[in-house]
Every structure is written in C-alpha cells, then in structure tokens.
Amino acid sequence: MYTPEMLESIKKVEATREARMGAELRRMTADEKEKLLNEFHPDYKQEGFTTLKIGPNKGDKAPVELADILQARSWVEKLNIDLGIVDYDVDVLVIGGGGSGASAAIEAHENGANVMLVTKLRMGDANTMMAEGGIQAADKSNDSPMTHYLDAYGGGHFKAQPDLLRKLVMDGPIAIKWLEKFGVLFDKEKDGTMITTHGGGTSRKRMHAAADYSGAEIMRVLRDEVFNRKIPLVDFTAALELLLDDEGNAAGAILENMETGEHFVARAKAVIIATGGAGRMHYQGFPTSNHYGATADGLVLGYRAGAKLLYQYTLQYHPTGVAYPPQIFGALVTEKVRSVGALLVNVDGEAFMHPLETRDVSAASVIRECGVRGKGVATPSGGRGVWLDSPIIEMIHGPGTIEKRIPGMMRMFGKYDIDIRRVPMLIYPTLHYQNGGLQITVDGRTTNVKNLYVAGEAVGGIHGENRLMGNSLLDIIVFGRNAGLNASKAVEGADKPKGLNIEHVRRFMKEAEDAGIKADAVSPKLFPAYARVGR
C-alpha cells in the first residue's frame, strides 16, 4: 500500500531499528520546549487568530474560525416559535450524548431529578467513543493525587484552574471505581491490579485502559446504564439556542429535529452543556480525529447567553494523526502506541525526539521535522509525515504485543493492507482536542449564568493550556457527574422557570450590528459542510 518513496524510506527505518532499541533518548529542556512551541506550534501562529469583537470575551483572542461562529447569526432569528408552548418540561436538560452528558444524566437521575438528554446524532456518537488510549487516575501505591496534580499542572503550562484540577485528581480514583462498579472492563492482572502505563507527560504509570477501546468501552457501558435507567433520550436532535427565564437564568433550549427540521421548546430548571469539542471546525485547515458533530456548538450557545470562555485560543494538535493512507487521513493513532514503545523516526530513519514529550511539544517537533528540517516523507496528496515505528514494539515486548495491546490500530491500518507489526505508520499532527471552553466554578456551573452548567470537553480551565492524554476521559466522568449532581441539587424543589425568552440572542445580534459585524454564517454549525454539491 505504501508508495515506492515510502518503501525506500522504510528501508532506512529498518536499518536503524536494532541500534535504536536500547538507545536512551534525551528529553528536551524547558527552554528548548518553549522555543520549539513558539516557532512551530499552531497555537502560536498569529494568522490563525483574531480578536473577538463582541460578547463576554470581547477583546480576547480566538481562532478565526471560532470567532466567525461565535459572532455569526442565530438559527432562531428567523424562526417563529411560540415559547409558550412547552414540548418538554424537565428539571435538568443535558445537551450532548457523549461521556460527560451520560455521566451527568446518570448522576442527576441518581439524585432523583427528572432529567432528559438530547443529542445531535445517536447517543454515543461522540468523541468519547473514539478515545483509545486510556484514563488517568492516581491509584497506585507509588502515585498520589499530588503527583497527578503536578504532571497535569506542568503539562498544561501552569494555567489550569487550581480548584478544578484539584477536583480532577482527587476524584480520579473515585471515578475509576464508579466505572468498575458499572462493569467497565479495565485491563487488569489476574489479581485485579490495574495494568497501567505512561502517557505523554506523566511521571507515574497511571493510564488505565480497556485495550485500545478505552473510550468505547466506557461509552458503551454508560449508554447502557442510561437505557437501563430509562432516562428520556431525544436523539438526532440539536440544541440551537438556550432559553433564559425572566431573571436571565438558564431555563431550557430550543431544539431541532435534525431529520425533519421540526422545532421544539424544552423547558428546564437547569441546563448542562455537554456538547464536546471542535475538531470539525478544522482550525488552520488541519484534519481532525474528532467525530462528525464536533463543531463547538455548546460554546456558541453559552457565549450568546453570557457565559465566559477561558483559553479558547488553545487547541490540542495530536502529534500522531494518520498522514497516509488518504481514507483515514487525520484519524488518530493512539498515544498508547508510543506508551508501549514505538518511536518517532524521520525519513532517514533517525529517532528525532523522545516519544513521550507532551502533545504540544511532540506536535511542534513533528511539524518542524517535516517543515524547516525537510526530514518528512512525502505523500501523494502533497502532504508530509514522519514514521511511527511500530515493529520495534514487538522487538521490545515480544510477538503478539501489538495484537493484544493495540488491536484497533492493527485493524485500522490492516484494512489498507498495512501490517503495523511489520511496517511503521506515517503520521502528522491532527486537530484533536479543545483545551479551552466555557469557564466553570468547581461545582460545574458557569461563572455568570445561573442554572447553566457545563461538563466535558466544552469546559475550559481544567487542564490549562494543554491536556495530557487520559485526563479528558477522567474529566468527563468527574465533572460530568459533578454537574449532574450539583444541577439537580440546585433546582430541587424549585418552581418551573417563568417567562422563557431569547432576548439574549436579540441583544447579542444588536451588539454585533453595532460592532459593524456583517456575518453571513449561521451558528451553531451543527455539522461540517462536507457535501460537495447539493441544496
């Protein structure tokens, strides 16, 4: 399946493999990392960003594509909906059917709330389902919440909100226990000891996994649990805009059936935004590892309702996205491949960096290798990539390791006749994770809109300006549950919201007009526009 040039380069990779086996690779110094990031990481590329002209973060920097949708028109402007006719009337409305939404719904249900979940695709069609590598938690004897805190804090450039990060690491083992209790099949030794590995930027082996289907395994079980509890689920339905009550508190959402276009009013005493990430925004033209519905919808909804964003200018580019074959361009090659020993190797067969630097550093390093250093391998579509040398894994850990530890990867490439036990994979960074998002307090609520909660990838601040592998699956469980619990507690016994309205949208549009913004686009985006032709 590889091109002749690729096969030529693979010979060089094979030639150096023996020698690379034992060699100790140096980690970069703090200064080297800083310089590398400044020069090569997409987050530091000025042209990719603009200044927000309106809204709660007016004057702040945001990716151009995000600014465009934050400041775009709203779907509901043209709609003629009678907000007096309430189609769904609940205590807690969860928007988003990924891991954070499911956790929130389960916990709200557990707490006795009348909770409903709406999601744009099917339940579980979400980034959570795609997580391969694993989930962190400090539950081994050589590890502690403090060590976990330090790894995450430093990895996020000391920008995490300390109280949120504290909650993440302290509740980590509790979250794993919660999942174990539901029957999530973690990789374990015969005696029940968790099999844990490193991830980029970890100082202890605290990555728990379920083969390389960690997210899928968690999502399948949580979804099953939502079904078992008969929590009302409205799928193929998107939230288009939040509704506020006469005091300006969150009070529901306007929904759209994605298939028929019909609109509905959902009234709720509390709303939890669990809409996930933004990979399908293709910031700076990058491909993405994310699911089809990752279009930052929740950020738009929250922003228009007055909620603040934090770190919206930092994205995570995963160092190892597929560069070739084209059918899976941008798809993720899990970090676990490096956790179990694979090395990043350039066109000449040189291992050019330590394979487990943090993701931002690794991505910048790959971009440098393929760019100014000219050590990338060309692809037919005009792109470049470097090798992720997988055959070395079985030289280290013995035959069968790849099939056992990273079967998903083996299958993904196998479909295109690439046997990763024998040949390396060609990779290049891919848009992977939204580090920033809506700002919350430690109880999961937005800082300035009452009854509006946020959980999961739509939150900004838990990880700072870079997230470590395995901390996101952890955060969706910890903060998903947290939001579900606190939202249901906060509205216990409360009256139904009165005076549902979308005045905030009108105000926002007025502000846009006054700022001279002439947007054609309508947001939230809901889906990327991939159809080549059509209506």
Binding site: L121, R122, G124, D125, A126, M129, M130, A137, D139, S144, P145, M146, Y149, L150, D151, Y153, G154, F158, P162, M170, P173, I174, K177, E180, F182, G183, L185, F186, K188, K190, G192, T193, M194, K205, A211, Y213, A216, E217, V221, D224, N228, K230, E259, H291, Y292, G293, P326, Q327, I328, A331, P380, G408, R411, K415, Y416, F527, Y530, A531, R532, V533
Partner: protein
C-alpha cells in the same frame, strides 16, 4: 487517485474518485449526512452498510467510513437496526447461567448458520461469542466480543432474531463487575481519599509558590 469509479448509492449511479470511502463517496455525490455517520472512524457503528459488487455473487458488509469504494459497487446503508435491548439493574443481577435465559432467551435458538460471523464488520467470531454466552462462559464471551461496535449487521442476518451486540455487552458488564477481581489498590486509594487522608497534603502542595511548583515539575523523577 483521480481515477473515477461508478458506485450505485441506493441503486442510483454516481461517478466518484476511486480513493474515497463509501461515506466520503456519498458526500462527494452530494449527500449531507445526518444518519449513518457518527465517529467517521470505525468506533461507533453508525454506518453499517451492505453492498454487492457487480459480478460477485457474495453479499458483503462493512462500515461505510472504513471501506474504500470499488467500481460497480451497489450500496445500501443500514443506519438503524431494531436490536432488542433488555432493561436490567446491574446491581441486582449476577453472572449466573440463567441470566441470559431470562434476558436474551433467543440465543438458545441459534441454528449455527454462522451468518453473523461472516457479516461482522469487525471480523469478530460472533457465533462463537454467542456460544460462550449460551454456556454461561461470560468472560470468554466478553473477550471474544470486546471489539464490537454494535453496528447491528450480525443481527440483521440472524434467522433466530438474536441481538448479538446486546448479548456481548451484557457479558462484558457481568465480567467487568462480577467475574474479574475488584482492584484492591483502587479500593484502598478511594477509601484514603474519602477518609480525607489527602485533603491537607494536596492543599499544602497546591499552596507552594509558583516557582517551587515549576522547579518540582521540571525535576520530576519519572517512573521507568
């Protein structure tokens, strides 16, 4: 790559570039997908697809996001299949032999045709994992079914009306909860945390001056 092939989407012919997947071919043809598209990378099972290539007698099955188009391919997607999902309380059931009989009795009507295995988009030995479930060997069923994306193609082929993905899921949950030993170090750590053992420690740690935390971070000892 720019070579074109003809694919028949729901019977209608479209000419599309040869390197596309069935999913991207549909988009190339002009479909704006709502159903039958989730993760776009083989994890969610939203895009189950049935196809036949002209001249080939065999009916084939795949995930639309994972399959490259072929010339004269006749494609029908299966964005939904009515699987049977039984409701249960995981706390109240156990890995007993009767549980499958109670919840999914149709597995005992398996006629051994192996159509499920032949159709599986993940190349799993589906009939084998159903056999394990029949015998109450849930851990084996869990392992054998582990990579299931629940696309439902197997069930669409089953003369006995078995909902294989749901059987596998139940077996996995039973295995994870009841059969594999509970993790002792996890249990201990949770108790320590809930007991407040770390409250002051983390507080003190977080309270260190920024420079000291940086220093600590840059000089961490990293487990080998």
């Amino acid at each position: 790559m720019s070579e074109m092939v003809s694919v028949f989407l729901f019977g209608k012919k479209y000419d599309v570039p040869s390197g596309l997947t069935i999913m991207t071919a549909m988009e190339y043809a002009g479909y704006r997908l709502v159903r039958g598209c989730g993760c776009r990378n083989g994890f969610c099972g939203a895009c189950a697809t049935i196809y036949r290539v002209e001249g080939d007698r065999e009916l084939k099955f795949c995930l639309a996001c994972q399959k490259t188009v072929e010339d004269k391919m006749y494609v029908a997607t299966l964005p939904f299949f009515p699987l049977l999902k039984e409701i249960y309380d995981i706390e109240k059931i156990g890995p007993t032999e009767q549980i499958m009989m109670q919840l999914y009795p149709e597995i005992y009507k398996c006629v051994g045709c192996n159509a499920c295995t032949k159709a599986c988009s993940q190349e799993l030995r589906v009939m084998q994992y159903i056999a394990f479930a029949q015998r109450g060997e849930y851990e084996k069923c869990a392992e054998e079914s582990f990579d299931c994306v629940m696309c439902g193609i197997c069930s669409s082929r089953c003369p006995a009306g078995i909902s294989h993905p749901q059987v596998g899921l139940l077996a996995r949950r039973l295995t994870g909860k009841y059969i594999r030993p509970e993790s002792a170090h996890l249990k201990d750590r949770v108790e320590e945390i809930l007991g407040g053992n770390y409250d002051k420690l983390i507080e003190d740690f977080m309270g260190k001056p920024a420079d000291e935390l940086k220093e600590l971070y840059n000089n961490r000892d990293i487990e080998a």
